[in-house]
């Protein structure tokens, strides 16, 4: 991938991010933080590439192992705790419907 392509991706992603995230209400800012937290756990993809391709080098292996473990904790912990939080947000139960007319 050329640098220009990567920069185009960067600018477009930033734009989409700002557009989408500015619509998240204040009420959901904590789940937004923990959800985006889980998303930056995507570094686990980089960590897997580093560790999986490590040709026996000690530095890469150790860095890779720690990075994969950190990334996995980040991803799993982030999504699980966000789900726990979001399932608590509920509306007032609908009042039982009275007979019409």
């Amino acid at each position: 991938m050329s640098l220009i392509t990567e920069l185009v991706i960067l600018v477009l992603a930033a734009w989409v991010g700002i557009e989408v995230i500015s619509k998240v209400p204040q009420m959901l800012h904590t789940p937004l933080m923990s959800g985006t937290n889980a998303i930056h756990g995507v570094v686990i993809v980089g960590a897997i590439l580093v560790l999986g391709a490590a040709a026996g080098g000690t530095v890469e292996t150790i860095c890779g192992i720690v990075a994969v473990a950190f990334g996995a904790a980040n991803v799993v912990g982030g999504f699980v705790v966000t789900d726990r939080m979001l399932q608590m947000f509920r509306r007032r139960p609908e009042p039982p419907k009275e007979g019409q007319g």
Binding site: K23, V42, G46, A72
Partner: protein
Amino acid sequence: MTRADVIQIAYLIAAFCFILGLRWLSSPRTARKGNLVAALGMLIAIIATLVDGRVVGYTWIAIAAFVGGSIGALVARRVQMTAMPQLVALLNGLGGGAAALIAISEYHVAGAAGEARLGAVIAVSVMFSTIVGSISFAGSLVAFGKLQELLPGRPITWPAQKALNGVGAIAVLGLAAYASLNIQDPLLWVAAGLALLLGVSAVLPIGGADMPVVIAFLNACTGLAAAATGFALNNSLLIIAGVLVGASGTLLTQLMSKAMNRSVASVLFGAFGGGGGSSSGVSATGETLPVLEISVADLAAQLVYARRVMIVPGYGLAVAQAQHPVRELADLLIERGVSVAFAIHPVAGRMPGHMNVLLAEADVPYDQLLEMEEANPDFPQTDIVLVIGANDVVNPAARDDENSPLYGMPILEVDNAENVIVFKRSMASGFAGVENMLFHDPKTRMLFGDARKSLTQLVQDVQAV
């Protein structure tokens, strides 16, 4: 189609899932689904990476992922909702640390391959990821320590702090530039070590109530470090996901500092507030100001006959773990025909949206939660406002007193209501160390004591009325 093409398409689907997930976070009705879609995207991305031809060994990946994932799942399931800010800080630090380690490893690989210097793009991305990732890792751990009360929450300062941080920052940048031109492993380790110190010394001076800004800022840092890793590894998904998080963190940082009427710089470098409870209750002319108290029984009687009651929660509510009794009180009053709502200031608590999560945990329906802009026009029609564990966010000085350090900060204008009841442990001043004239307002009554005990007693008394 080659395997590489398939992997790229999988990454595209993953990126789409992340964006859709964030889009669905715009309403509490779709938010949970959004989080699941984002998690699905992550799963697709990880599977696609595992079948990448460059990945040859799986043993260590499996072990590390299992250990990390299990710990993450366990902590996320067990953690109390009141401990959410520290968990978010901790997870954020892990992401930053992982990004830095990947960059360090890339640097080592380049050196082992016999390269003398890094190309410009790789150099910038590897160094950015190492430095920002390390700062985010160390800074997040300090924030975690402060929120978990392992470290004192007040600002910790030392002489020539800003100058030392400045020198440290220049040294890190210089070292990074030199290390890019002369690949030698120890150079980058030293740079990463310095960046860790910088992260610690940057967050130590920041006080507890400024934590919403700091956490949002560190979130942005980790996102951008992940994006930089994407440039180093030529991986489009890391760039997209990292930048999405960076955008979110940046927006939240701005929103939070705007809600405190302070610049991001003044929060991050200001060591603001926490001057201790040096409140005197003395007016400008030197006389002691009156403070009127109310008993729980009297308040119970007033509440039952009110038409509209507004509850303003603050960090004190979280500290006292009083979210459940406050919900009981609201339910009881609603049963009796009183209209009840909660007014939530954007920076109430220790992280963006902290109060909403706390009240949601106590089963308060989210349609009872009002944002500041919705609540303020309501106060003139409100009979009783219950201020529970909040202080600076209801201080009228922010609106009226040009000499106040709070001046200009948007507040919940509770003094427009007919009666104000303040639940407070003592007359100590708020985080900013600023006297609050609301407590001396003739329409204000103080209810001293632990908020949880007061509210539990109040619930019993309301039931008895």
